[in-house]
């Protein structure tokens, strides 16, 4: 890559990239934000930050990432000159009020998702939905991918599901179109990545963990679950055990309180 001479003294590299990706929005500089804030009351800024919170929550109900372009266009609008400050306050609300973390998952296209900072508990989910079969299905797939070292050809997933009487070729009573759920819904929600394997004929795909799974799902818990399933000490899977207990991306706090 050539050294493009577009960095002005006030801009950091990531800011200069914005101009390429999103012509309607340029990340304001610190001094621009400062000047913008001087002209506005705290209440005005808080109000706009609250609208951002509402907007992201609404999008998050469907677990769809929020694009910065949309955020600016629909909510931030004329406050775009103080965008970083608005996002800072929104992130603080998510953290302090909702126990959620606002994460930019794609720094190139500027997409945000909310990640749960609270550990998943069975009881709370049984109140919210008596059984959460989709979550169980997802957990099975994530387990297989993790145990196979992080990447798995799709056939292996379909065969595993068939053993559980979930046939991707048939309409399932609970899941409907299984293939669509797994390769579309879970992918859009960033729980899974479904990518084409290069140079395959016929075309083949493979699964990886998605960014939301990385942040929300505890590998240690998956290993624990596999241990119970196979009546085996989780430590016997040396490689996975090491990964589960060292990986910085396993955002979950200690799971010792869980049975």
């Amino acid at each position: 890559m050539t050294n493009r001479k577009r960095l002005s003294s006030t801009q950091t590299p990531s800011q200069s990239r914005d101009e390429d990706d999103d012509p309607t929005f340029t990340q304001p500089s610190t001094s621009q934000v400062q000047r913008g804030l001087e002209r506005l009351s705290t209440a005005q800024v808080d109000q706009r930050a609250a609208e951002v919170v509402q907007y992201i929550l609404m999008k998050d109900q469907k677990k769809v990432p929020v694009r910065r372009t949309d955020l600016v266009k629909h909510v931030v609008k004329d406050y775009r000159n103080i965008y970083p400050e608005i996002m800072k306050r929104a992130a603080r609300s998510f953290d302090q009020v909702f126990g959620l973390k606002l994460v930019e998952i794609d720094t190139k296209n500027h997409m945000y998702i909310l990640i749960n900072k609270l550990e998943y508990t069975e009881a709370a989910s049984s109140i919210s939905s008596p059984t959460n079969p989709k979550r169980a299905l997802l957990f099975v797939i994530l387990s297989v991918v993790f145990m196979k070292g992080g990447v798995v050809r799709e056939n292996l997933i379909w065969n595993t599901l068939k053993k559980l009487r979930v046939d991707p070729g048939e309409k399932h009573e609970e899941f409907g179109d299984v293939k669509k759920l797994v390769t579309d819904e879970f992918v859009r929600q960033r729980y899974l990545e479904y990518v084409r394997i290069p140079h395959t004929e016929p075309i083949e795909y493979e699964f990886h963990w998605g960014q939301r799974a990385d942040a929300e799902v505890s590998r240690a818990k998956i290993l624990q679950f596999m241990g119970q399933l196979h009546e085996q000490d989780p430590q016997s899977w040396t490689q996975q055990y090491r990964e589960a207990h060292s990986s910085p991306s396993s955002a979950q706090p200690s799971t010792s309180s869980q049975r």
Binding site: A50, L57, M58, V97, L118, T121, I127, S129
Partner: protein, 262 residues
């Protein structure tokens, strides 16, 4: 210590008790995913959230607990609001969005013409005497739609979605507003249909499904569960407003938990 310092100190301690913990956050998260919960469910959830995070939960402090959450939600134009089920009188808690209390808050889930039909349904229910509308009347109202007209099958599908999403209730082809819908949309309904909206004579909240005094110059409305409670054990029921004989059958007080939650 000066009085100013004292005031500051007491103000801070007041603030301390209003701090949210992970137990509050978990409760709120669950409310976000379910939208509404009855009081038994709320108590169970409260207990679960406190136990999960090793916090004491005195059983009688649920409302304080929710008040703490509300104090932080208010600047974000949200609130957990309490309301009564018109079917069985049971208290419910719903998470409401105060920034958009009208039907636009449903716009992420429903198309424009679907929202129009929901508005029409709302209108029919508000305009009806006892808060119900038949599926036939809803189907007929599609004729006057200004957005893309919904076909019969589409309307039926939409109605079942509205029931599934807990905006409407349905029994034998008759539709009523769900508890969630009433709690969330009460301010909207009150402003939109000022002249048509009535308030229960007993509990003073907005009323749809009810019994009505037959004295034409009185005509007060009372929720069915409020009727049951108010007239319980009275030999000759009389209207609490005009003292005329109350001619309707007095419903039994329903024990909410004895009926299964299917």
């Amino acid at each position: 210590m000066t009085s100013v310092q004292l005031a500051v100190a007491s103000g801070q301690s007041g603030q301390m008790s209003r701090q949210m913990g992970d137990n509050h956050r978990r409760f709120l998260q669950t409310m976000m995913s379910i939208g509404i919960v009855d009081d038994h469910g709320a108590k169970a959830l409260y207990q679960h959230c406190c136990e999960t995070h090793n916090v004491q939960c005195p059983p009688d402090r649920l409302d304080d607990f929710i008040e703490t959450i509300n104090s932080k939600l208010q600047p974000l134009f949200m609130q957990i609001r309490k309301g009564m089920s018109e079917d069985n009188g049971q208290e419910h808690y719903a998470l409401v969005n105060m920034a958009q209390t009208d039907v636009t808050r449903m716009s992420s889930d429903y198309a424009d013409n679907e929202l129009e039909l929901f508005k029409k349904t709302l209108e029919l229910i508000v305009g009806s005497e006892n808060g119900t509308v038949s599926s036939t009347d809803i189907l007929n109202s599609t004729d006057s739609m200004t957005t893309k007209k919904l076909k019969k099958s589409e309307t039926e599908h939409l109605l079942s979605r509205l029931v599934h999403d807990k905006w409407l209730n349905e029994t034998k082809g008759e539709y009523t507003l769900s508890t969630r819908c009433i709690i969330e949309m009460e301010p909207y309904i009150r402003t939109m249909y000022q002249d048509q909206v009535s308030v229960c004579h007993i509990c003073h909240t907005i009323v749809f499904q009810c019994q009505i005094c037959e004295n034409p110059i009185c005509g007060i409305k009372i929720h069915n569960p409020c009727v049951a409670r108010y007239f319980k054990g009275r030999a000759e029921p009389r209207c609490p407003a005009c003292n005329d004989f109350w001619p309707h059958e007095i419903p039994e007080i329903r024990r909410p938990r004895s009926q299964s939650r299917r």
